[in-house]
Structure formats: C-alpha cells, structure tokens
C-alpha cells in the first residue's frame, strides 16, 4: 500500500493544495473568486505552447509558459476594464474564453500530430496526480516554498490592498508591484495545481479552503493557517480514497473532500453557520410565541376590565395559532411565574401582566411610528407591528417614545399602556 508512487503523490498534492490555499485566501477575501478560475483557463495555451516548444513536459518550460500566459491574461483583463466600459466580470469571462479556446485549439493540433498521446496533455484539463514524477516533486517543493515565502514577505501589502486599496495607494505603497506579486503567486499556484486537479477544478482548490476557514475564524493569520490545514487534509483524504478504490482519479477526490469541508463548515460554524442560525430562529420563534400568549391574555383583560383566564383551546382559537409547542410554552411561562394555571384556564401574574403590557405597548407604538413617521396607511401597519413588537429593545422604545412625544393613543385610537409607577 505504501509504495513510492503513493508517497510521491501524497507529498505532491499536499504541498500543492496547501500552498495554493494560502494564496487563494486573498482572492476570496477580495471577492475575486472568479479570477483564479479565469487564470487557470487562460494558462492552457501557455502550457501547450511550452509543451510544443519544449518537446515534452519539462516542468521548467511549463512554468515559464504558464506564467507568461497568466500574466498576459491578467493584464489583458485590467486593460479591458480600464479602456472600455465593460464590467469586470465581463472582461474576465471575455479573456477566459478567448484564451481557453485558443488553448484547446493548440491542444487538438498537438494531439493530431501525435506528440501528445504519450505524455498526456489532457492531464491539464482534468489533472493526473498519479503521474507525478520525482522531478515534479522537486519543482513542487520549490514552488510551494516560494508561494509561502511570497505571502509572508508581502503579508502587509496583501492585507492592506485587500481591505482598503485606496488607503494603500494614499500612503504611497507600491500598489502596482504588490498586485504584480500577487498575480505571479496566483499564476504559480495555478500552474502547479492544474497538473494535479486540472483546469476545471482549480478554482475549487484556490477558494474552497478559504471559504471553509473563514467560517471558523476572524483573524487573517489564523485563516491562512486553517485554509492550509483544510487543503492538506483534503489532499491526504483525496489521495487515500483514490488509492484505495481502484481506478479512481485523485484530483476530483481532493476537490470533493474539500467541498465536504466547505459545506460542513457552512453548516457547523459558530454564529454564522446554518445550525447556529437555525438555533437562533428557534429561539426567536419561542420568544414570539411566549410574548404573543402574554399579549393575548393582556388584551383579554383589557377588554373585560378585570383579570381573566383562558384555556389552551381558547388561545388556539383566538390566535389562529397551532397547538405546536403551545403546551411547552405555557409550561415555561408557568415556571417563570408569568402565568398561573387555574381551574378555568391560564391567567396572568403581575409579572406576566407587565410583560404583556410591554408587548401591547410596543405594538401600538410601532403602529403609530409607521403612520406618523413613515406615512403608512393605518390599514397596512398591523402585520409589521406584529413582528417589530418582538424585536424592539428598551433603548429603541425610549427613542420612539421620545420622538413621538409620549403619545397616548395608537392610530386605531387604542390607548398605549405605559407602566404605571
């Protein structure tokens, strides 16, 4: 199992994945996820030309060819953006498709002349990690080192240019040089990357580790480290899976594992993740139901002019709500001494009454605010107030009361119940 080929492939993919992930962090943060994709496609003609001229796939030729094509594409995009009114994504796709088309054209030429079949030029399209040679490995090592050193050296420049390019220019940083350095690093990363996962999947290798890492941290150095770790883990995982299952290509597996990391991060991440958001939604729903029940009881008291009790059934009828969670909510309200259970149903305690009054007050204040300040018609405001009564904090309430000048009644002439003290 642990033969030399596997170790070579393992090591190669690891170096490659982690170093391109680190470079990709800045593209991701800049919101230029597409640019890596564009460069990957644009490299193709350079690589194929180098293949023809270099009589085979000597890594040195390939890198020079790729670098040239990548830089031409990059500055081509910038040139088009500057000289025409085209939007940036249009310029990117224009250059991408032209270069890629040219590359495919060259490739079919090479294939027809029969040069390509042995070395397998198609590896650049879909990648072929298993074909990594010792020579490749040395080159990968050198490039990975170069990428990491480059990012370390230009860290301040990349950080500031990504966050606030105008400021970088204003303090006189050499923005052209920094951008050039970044482009060279991206092209180098892509050059190595496409030999393993291919042009098509390269964007995933640049961007997905960043997306996963960003879910877990808000510190740039930690994000760089995490992106590299995710990419390394994916490289290891992908290589092992493809080695275990017969006839399975490595590149797509690496990208699949990366995708798995990406999606699980989106689900599990603290605060911004799907699970955390769902939890918040549930807790908001519970809060809404609690406050609605208290409001309902308060409203009933207001109409009757005396304390009243309501059964759970009556509550469902009145609110047109479902039973779902009702028993639970009532039990919680009881536990917090906001309601008491009597033989004829549930009734408010003093604490519960005050809370119900607060919700009714917020509802009516907001209705008044909508009509007075935003000029909305009185028959359109109720649904909005139904939501906002659960959202408005005491500070905002105070602001509204002040701005409206301690109003007495809402737009429907119902009294606004303040806490009497």
């Amino acid at each position: 199992m642990f033969d030399l080929v596997l170790i070579k492939v393992l090591f190669g993919t690891l170096l490659l994945a982690s170093s391109s992930a680190v470079v990709g962090v800045f593209s991701f943060l800049k919101g230029e996820s597409l640019v890596g994709d564009a460069i990957a496609h644009a490299l193709l003609p350079g690589v194929v030309l180098a293949f023809i001229l270099g009589e085979g796939r000597h890594p040195g030729y390939l890198i020079i060819g790729a670098l040239t094509a990548g830089l031409i594409a990059h500055y081509g995009i910038a040139f088009i953006e500057q000289r025409t009114k085209l939007k940036s994504d249009t310029a990117v796709s224009l250059v991408l498709s032209t270069f890629f088309g040219f590359g495919i054209l060259l490739m079919s030429y090479v294939q027809r002349t029969g040069q390509g079949q042995q070395a397998g030029l198609e590896r650049f399209l879909l990648g072929k990690a298993a074909a990594i040679t010792m020579m490749d490995l040395y080159v990968f090592m050198g490039l990975a080192l170069l990428l990491l050193l480059g990012v370390a050296l230009f860290y301040k420049g990349f950080q500031l240019m990504t966050f606030n390019e105008d400021f970088a220019a204003a303090i006189g940083l050499p923005t052209g040089l920094i951008r050039f350095a970044f482009t060279v690093l991206t092209v180098l990363a892509v050059t190595v990357g496409i030999q393993t996962v291919g042009v098509v999947l390269m964007a995933a290798l640049l961007i997905t580790p960043s997306a996963a890492a960003r879910s877990w941290t808000s510190s740039l150095p930690r994000m760089l480290l995490l992106a590299a770790l995710f990419a390394s883990a994916a490289a290891l995982g992908g290589t092992f899976i493809s080695a275990t299952l017969p006839k399975m290509p490595t590149g797509p597996w690496i990208v699949l594992v990366l995708g798995f990391f990406g999606f699980s991060s989106l689900i599990l991440a603290p605060e911004k993740g799907w699970l955390a958001r769902r939890k918040r939604a549930t807790s908001n729903r519970n809060k809404t139901q609690r406050e609605n029940l208290l409001k309902l009881l308060y409203g009933a008291e207001e109409r009757a002019g005396e304390p009243v009790a309501m059964t759970a059934d009556a509550m469902v009828d009145a609110r047109e709500a479902h039973y779902e969670g009702l028993t639970m909510t009532l039990r919680n309200l009881k536990k917090e001494f906001l309601v008491v259970e009597r033989p004829d149903g549930f009734a408010l305690t003093d604490m519960g009454r005050s809370e119900g009054r607060r919700v009714v007050r917020l509802h009516r204040l907001w209705e008044l605010y909508l009509t007075e300040r935003l000029g909305m018609a009185a028959d359109h405001i109720h649904p909005q107030a139904e939501t906002m009564e659960h959202v408005i904090t005491p500070e905002i309430e105070a602001l509204i009361v002040k701005e409206l000048g301690n109003p007495e009644v809402d737009p429907h002439q119902s009294p606004i119940p303040y806490e009497e003290d």
């Binding site: 943060l29 009114k85 400021f167 970088a168 204003a170 510190s219």
Partner: protein, 266 residues
C-alpha cells in the same frame, strides 16, 4: 501663514464624464476646513484626486507647496467608511496598525514603537478597550473612530477625512469634534468632507462650497451666506450635468493632464 492645499484648475471625470469642473482654490494651514456640498457634488472625487487616487483630466493639486509624492508622510487620509468591507478578518488593532505602514517598511515586521503609537491613537478615540474586537462587530460610530485612530497613527501634519460624521451618534460626534479641535491647537490642518449644512457653520473655520464646480471658498463668515448656499444646494446644475452627459456620449477629449507645464504662468 503658508498654504496647506492648493487646487489648480482641476477637472476630473468618471468614464470621461466630468464631475468636477475647473475647480480652483487654496486652503490655509492650521484650520478646520469643511468641504461642503450636496450628495454627488464631487467632494469625495476632489479628496481622491488630492490623494492621487484619481488622475485629473486637467489641472493639478499641491500640498504644502509640493507635489503629493514629496510630502506623502505628512498627509493622512480617512476614506469614506462604507468604502471598505468591514467583514474583513481583522481586529481593531490590526486596522489602526495599518496607519504605520510605509513604503519603506512594507517588508518589515511591525515594531514595538508602531504598537505604542497605535495604542496611543486608540486611546485618543476612546477605543482602547476594543483593541481586540473584530471590526465586523463594531457599530458604525466605532468603525468611524477606528478609521480616525488609524489616521492619527500616521502622525501627519494634514488630515483629509471623508464624511467622518456619517452614521455616528451624537456623543461620538462631540468626541470627534473635540479631537479635531485638539489637533488644530497642535497646529495640524484638518480637511473634512461634509454634506450636512446644519452643522457645517458650527464645525468649521473655513469652508469650501462645492457643487460640481466651485461655488465659494473662504472663511466661513464670507462663504456661509444665503445666496452662496442657495447656489450650492438649490437645484441641479442642469447645464453642467447635460454637458457632462454629452461629453461622455461623444467621448470628446478634455484637456491633457500635463496642462500645468503648457500654461503660461500669469
């Protein structure tokens, strides 16, 4: 007293549509100066051109009597708060430290001295206890103060700030204003882009009224007159905006940027 900023016959455009027309004024040193005009009147564009972020079609600007490149370290710039993505992974200290970045320390590590200066700047804007806070978690007013702290950390002689009072609560506004007055008392020049007329008169010693062209520039008593304000704020400058569209549509070339050399100095 010498001049802080000179703007000479400046015309600037986006996609060959001019948004500043032949603007020409000089600003004194050691004052709080307001660049005032309605939204879209070209205030940000003017500041960006002075900072070398946009190339003028014609005209030129100087700071302390010299081109920007000669005095860059004496100039500090605060961009509009909304011009950056505050979701960027950085804490407050990271951003303030950016005020210490220079061309000649780009490849060097941040020093203890840089940290000391950044800490002092944070103290001045009352944000020291937030030094480790993620910038995405700050309120609008706090983000604005982070930007001001970053600019203080530059330790410059002139400060150009784009709308530092937008999205800021009343208490913060007072605090910023006090800070600006302290800076003025230390002999610094502060240029503030501002669109709110209500407060402009109170805040500034000197006012530049702008609306695509220069309406007036001078001590506030001279500039803050009903006629001039009406001119700046009342109605759109229909002729200029129509002409701008026309120039943009026909791609009519404006004067060249090196117009300074060609112009006889009289």
């Amino acid at each position: 007293m010498g001049k802080s900023i000179e703007v000479h016959n400046l015309t600037v455009s986006y996609h060959s549509k001019p948004v500043l027309w032949d603007v020409d004024f000089e600003l004194p040193k050691g004052k709080i100066i307001g660049v005032v005009g309605p939204n879209g009147s070209g205030k940000t564009t003017m500041l960006k051109t002075v900072m070398g972020l946009m190339k003028p079609d014609s005209g030129y600007t100087e700071i302390f009597g010299q081109p920007l490149d000669k005095v860059r370290e004496r100039v500090s710039y605060v961009p509009q708060r909304e011009s950056v993505d505050w979701d960027f992974p950085a804490d407050v200290m990271d951003v303030v430290l950016m005020g210490r970045y220079r061309k000649n320390n780009l490849f060097k590590r941040i020093t203890k001295e840089d940290r000391r200066i950044a800490t002092e700047a944070l103290e001045k804007v009352n944000l020291l206890e937030f030094a480790d806070r993620q910038i995405s978690q700050l309120s609008g007013g706090q983000q604005q103060r982070v930007f001001i702290a970053r600019s203080l950390a530059q330790q410059a002689d002139i400060y150009l700030m784009d709308e530092p009072f937008v999205g800021v609560d009343a208490a913060t506004e007072d605090a910023i204003l006090k800070l600006l007055r302290d800076m003025k008392n230390e002999g610094k020049t502060v240029v503030i882009v501002h669109h709110d007329l209500q407060t402009a008169n109170e805040y500034f010693d000197w006012i530049v009224l702008l609306n695509t062209r220069l309406v007036a520039a001078g001590p506030k008593e001279q500039v803050f007159t009903k006629e001039l304000l009406q001119e700046a704020y009342g109605g759109r400058l229909t002729v200029l905006s129509k002409l701008g569209d026309l120039i943009s549509d026909t791609e009519f070339p404006l004067r060249e940027p090196d117009f300074k050399e060609d112009q006889p100095q009289d």
